[in-house]
Structures are given as C-alpha cells and as structure tokens.
C-alpha cells in the first residue's frame, strides 16, 4: 500500500516537472524569439504546458477552458485570423528595446524575491496524493449558476467578453 502510494506521488511529481518544464521553456522561447509568429506558436506550447499542470492539480475544467481560449483562440487567430494580423505577425522581426537590461534586472529580482519568500515560509504539506477532489466539477457548476453563488459575476464576465468581441470585430473591420 505504501509502495503504491509512493509510486503515485512519484508519478505526479514527474508529471509536474514535465509540464512545468514545457510551460516555462516555451514561455522563455515566446519571449526570446524575434518573429511574432514563432512567438505565438511558442505561447501556444506554454499554454499547453499550463493546461497539463492544471489537470495534474485536479482542475480539468479550467484546463479545458484554458486550452480552448488560448490555444484554440489566440494561436488560431494569429495563424488563421484577419489578413493584417497575419501579415503583421509574419513580417515583423523586432528584438528588445534599448533598456532590455532593466527588464532582466526587475524580472530576476522579483522572481528571486518571490521564490525566497515561498521557500522561507512554512507552507502546509502537500495534500494526500490519493485524494482526488471528487465532485469538484459538480460543485463548480452549482457555484456558477446558483443565486447564492457566482451567477451575477458570471453574467457580467460573459457580457464583458461579448462586448470585447464586438468591439474587436468593429476595430478590425473598420477601413
């Protein structure tokens, strides 16, 4: 029993390392590549890694939405979207601005500070690996549509996305 439990923990940690490496490596590639089209492809890979991480954390619904929105939406719009967007992403080869080192210093300092705080804080131990959050999808559905839950914020968020979609279509369609 203990051996099976240990193997589950080992597998989950290996999955975390694999998906985390994909997410972080593709993110670095998305930032470092000069061509915006190649950056978009790398961003899709990073979003795929993040979706795998979310699945390994027990949130497949959020992972599915993430994959649909970012990989299916953003990457596909850059690949198959309006002609000016495709032209812009394919033709623009821009590097970093003159003060790129400020970005390196700020990002490295912030990352170091956060990692230091995280590892110097006594966080709760990892939950039992065999415990799968059963009913989380059902609980999420109930929370999203019940009056005591988040139905009003959900409505506002959907309206926001709809208005943004209409505004974006108006901007892109205007000559």
């Amino acid at each position: 029993m203990r051996t099976a439990h240990a193997s589950i923990m080992g597998l989950q940690q290996i999955l975390f390392i694999v998906f985390g490496t994909i997410a972080l490596g593709a993110a670095v590639a998305a930032v470092a590549l000069r061509n915006a089209f190649h950056s978009a492809l790398a961003l899709a890979g990073s979003c795929l890694g993040v979706a795998g991480l979310l699945v390994s954390l027990g949130a497949p619904i959020v992972a599915g939405v993430q994959a649909l929105v970012f990989i299916g939406g953003i990457a596909a719009s850059i690949r198959f979207g309006p002609a000016p967007l495709r032209e812009m992403t394919r033709s623009v080869h821009l590097g970093h601005n003159r003060s790129w080192w400020v970005g390196v210093v700020v990002a490295a300092a912030l990352c170091g500070a956060i990692v230091w705080m995280v590892f110097s804080t006594d966080l709760d131990p990892a939950p039992d690996a065999a415990f799968i959050p059963s009913g989380s999808i059902e609980a999420l559905g109930v929370a999203l549509v019940s009056a005591e839950g988040f139905v009003l914020p959900l409505t506002i968020a959907v309206l926001l996305v709809g208005v943004a979609l209409a505004g974006a279509a108006r901007l892109v369609g205007r000559r």
């Binding site: 000016p84 821009l94 956060i114 995280v118 999420l140 929370a143 943004a164």
Partner: protein, 102 residues
C-alpha cells in the same frame, strides 16, 4: 503530488518571464503575449491555492475561470488595437507611438 512551494515557484517564473516581455519587447503583439503569460501564472496560483488550501469550495476554480475570460477579452481588444495601428501607421513598434506626448 508536488509541494505547494514548487507550484508557486513555477508560477513566479512564468510571471517574471511575462514581465520581462512587457518591459523589454518592442512588438505590441509580443507584449500582449507577455501579459497572457503573467495571467497564466495567476491562474496557476489560484488553482494551486484552491487545491492545497480550500478544496471544499469551488471559489478558487470560479476565480480562475473569470481570470481566463477576462484575459480573453483583454487579448481580443489588444490584438484588434494592434491591427488598427498596423493599418493606420504601418508599424507595431510601441516605441514609435508617441502621439500622446505631443
């Protein structure tokens, strides 16, 4: 399962890679991608805290879904603005957009 500190450190790395893109890149589309990376890190943090601290309620998942939706809206408008700039000015370099300084 990986410890919470590992997940938080990974999210910090993702956030800072995105922050570097926002601070140092010149292309408007790549800057938008940096913002997407930063919001991805936020989603990972929300789901991690839900999983490790507050798994009995669905609040963390709901907030993560809202962040994904708001990110989608923000990227839609940002890409449309970039296309409008490309059409009107023929450039996607944010350093050259200085009309507000005049």
């Amino acid at each position: 399962m990986a410890p919470l500190s590992w997940v938080l450190a990974l999210a910090a790395g993702l956030f800072c890679v995105g922050l570097y893109a926002v601070l140092a890149r010149r292309n408007a589309v790549t800057i938008l991608m940096g913002v997407v990376l930063m919001l991805n890190a936020v989603v990972v943090n929300l789901v991690a805290f839900w999983r490790y601290v507050e798994i009995e309620t669905a609040g963390g998942l709901v907030f993560a879904l809202f962040v994904v939706l708001v990110t989608a809206a923000q990227v839609l408008v940002g890409l449309a603005l970039a296309v409008a700039l490309w059409r009107s000015r023929g450039t996607a370099v944010v350093d050259e957009l200085e009309s507000l300084k005049e």
